[in-house]
């Protein structure tokens, strides 16, 4: 399907969108099955959202970034899935190839296979966004998805790519985002500091169990690590930036 779909126009993909497929399966046991009405509602919500960002016409990089943030929240809040379900690549392949092929191939024109097949969920057009929303979700907050916008996609991918060590723990991811949001980098290169910060956390992870700390202590420790990173970057590249 993917090889064919890569060559089709968005309008044709829209005509091929459906709610069922002969190869679609459900987990043997688990929660309530998503019915046709649920899937139709999800398609409507995502297509509506995409339309607001230029779909089906070509869109700018900024528009696609903003669409990602909004659709992450829509998928996470609207699909009523638990992590055990969202870890199944088949769910995401169904979304990209059957339910929303037009939106998937609009978001990533002529994509490599993993963007739609979910052979790697951390790269899937929709799956990566559900997980991004899940990792930052704070149920007690007025805006539970508020942290979604703290890091840009490329920056967040730096955390998510280190999935096992850093991106597996919502507790740690949220603390990283809080620490980052409180930081004033001045004129330092954001990507360079973030990369250095995450590398330091990665190096510490065999000896330090961040998940065993409460949020306040964790934040204080991460603050020290990020300031060490800033000092190291500044030592390499003397600059006049101010640290917040």
């Amino acid at each position: 399907m993917h090889e064919l779909y890569r060559t089709l126009e968005i309008a044709e993909l829209g005509r091929r969108a459906g709610m069922t497929h002969d190869s679609s399966i459900f987990a043997a046991v688990g929660g309530d099955r998503a019915g046709i009405d649920d899937l139709a509602a999800l398609r409507l919500a995502v297509v509506d959202l995409a339309t607001g960002y230029g779909f089906p016409a070509e869109s700018s990089r900024d528009a696609r970034r903003d669409f990602d943030l909004r659709v992450a929240e829509t998928l996470h809040s609207g699909m009523h899935m638990v992590p055990a379900e969202a870890a199944a690549g088949d769910v995401w392949a169904f979304l990209a190839l059957v339910l929303l092929p037009d939106v998937a191939y609009w978001r990533y024109p002529r994509p490599p296979g993993d963007r739609v097949l979910a052979t790697d969920i951390t790269r899937h057009v929709f799956g990566r966004l559900w997980w991004r929303a899940h990792l930052v979700y704070s149920g007690g907050e007025v805006n539970p998805y508020g942290a979604l916008g703290i890091l840009g996609e490329a920056a967040f991918d730096q955390i998510y790519a280190r999935r096992k060590a850093l991106g597996a723990s919502p507790h740690l991811v949220k603390a990283i985002l809080r620490t980052w949001a409180d930081l004033d980098l001045g004129d330092l290169d954001e990507r360079e500091v973030l990369r250095g910060f995450l590398q330091r956390l990665l190096r510490l992870s065999p000896f330090v169990v961040f998940d065993a700390l409460d949020a306040e202590t964790l934040d204080a420790e991460l603050r020290v690590v990020v300031l060490e990173t800033v000092d190291a970057v500044r030592a390499d590249r003397p600059a006049s930036g101010r640290i917040g």
Binding site: D22, S23, S24, I25, F26, A27, A28, V29, G30, G31, D32, R33, V82, P83, A84, E85, A86, A87, R163, K164, A168, S169, P170, H171, L204, F207, V208, V209, F210, D211, A212, L213, D214, T217, L218, A220, E221, V224
Partner: protein, 277 residues
């Protein structure tokens, strides 16, 4: 220890009957020699220490700590850990670590001593495999009062007429949560009582009968049909072959049409209803 129905059992290596609606409850007691822990790490007597449980699930890729207990004693302390982990967050291999960590920064600690909050002073790891390799029958618990099925029915097998569809998407056994006997039988399936065995055997027989009759009533179901692996047609072919080896589909169809009551009994015999297993 694993806690099942308030009964504690030693942690097994795997839970083949687990599914993600089942939370994991674990208990253990750890005797912590706090003094030795601090001395061994070169920490001062007032160094804050906490004991925590951290789990990682390979199936979901998630990690979390459901329990952390600061240790206040100066010498030894017995710490009871009691954790419940939501099954919805789990899958695959569950890696459980019990860790003792430095619970705050100690910037003034000796150069060879841990200084960072979260530094590991002691850790112990064990594993629990949560899913078996055996195929599971697609199953859901529903309240028949909210469906078109009779409120007092025990179960219903939904099965698609499309024999080319994937089995796991084309078939679903619904259990009525209002029916206590059926609910108890499935709840106790890992350790069934005599009554549960009888109920499960009856349901198994009825599901087999429904599937066989569904296949035989389908005009496209035949020996010459070429169903792809894991389709409903392939599953039904395998079931009919298993229950009635060497008998043609045409013969079976005639038996069902001409002597339906006798054919139903043949299916009971083929599945060994109320047999030992």
């Amino acid at each position: 220890m694993l806690v099942v129905d308030e009964e504690q059992i030693p942690l097994p290596s795997h839970l083949p009957d687990w599914d993600y609606r089942t939370d994991i409850r674990l208990r253990r007691t750890v005797q912590v020699d706090v003094g030795a822990l601090r001395t061994g790490a070169g920490l001062p007597p007032d160094a804050p220490i906490a004991l925590a449980v951290v789990w990682t699930a390979t199936g979901s890729g998630l990690r979390s700590s459901p329990c952390r207990i600061p240790i206040k004693a100066a010498d030894t302390e017995s710490v009871h850990l009691d954790v419940r982990i939501a099954g919805a967050d789990l899958g695959g291999l569950l890696i459980l670590e019990t860790v003792a960590v430095l619970d705050d920064r100690m910037p003034a600690a000796a150069p060879i001593s841990p200084r960072r909050a979260g530094s590991v002073l002691w850790r112990e790891r064990c594993e629990l495999r949560l899913q078996g390799d055996a195929p599971q029958f697609p199953l859901a618990i529903v309240d028949f009062g909210r469906t078109s099925f009779p409120n007092d029915a025990g179960w219903h097998l939904q099965i698609s007429p499309n024999l080319s569809a994937a089995t796991m998407g084309a078939m679903l056994l619904l259990i009525n949560e209002r029916n206590q006997a059926a609910m108890s039988a499935f709840k106790n399936a890992a350790k069934p009582r005599a009554v549960d065995k009888a109920v499960l055997s009856t349901i198994y027989m009825d599901v087999a009968r429904t599937m066989v009759e569904h296949a035989l009533r389908s005009e496209e179901f035949s020996e010459t049909a070429d169903y792809e692996d894991e389709t409903l047609g392939a599953t039904l072919t395998a079931l009919v072959d298993q229950l009635f080896p060497g008998i043609s589909i045409g013969d079976l169809r005639l038996r069902m049409e001409n002597a339906p009551a006798h054919f139903a009994s043949e299916i009971q015999a083929a599945v060994k209803v109320f047999g030992d297993d």
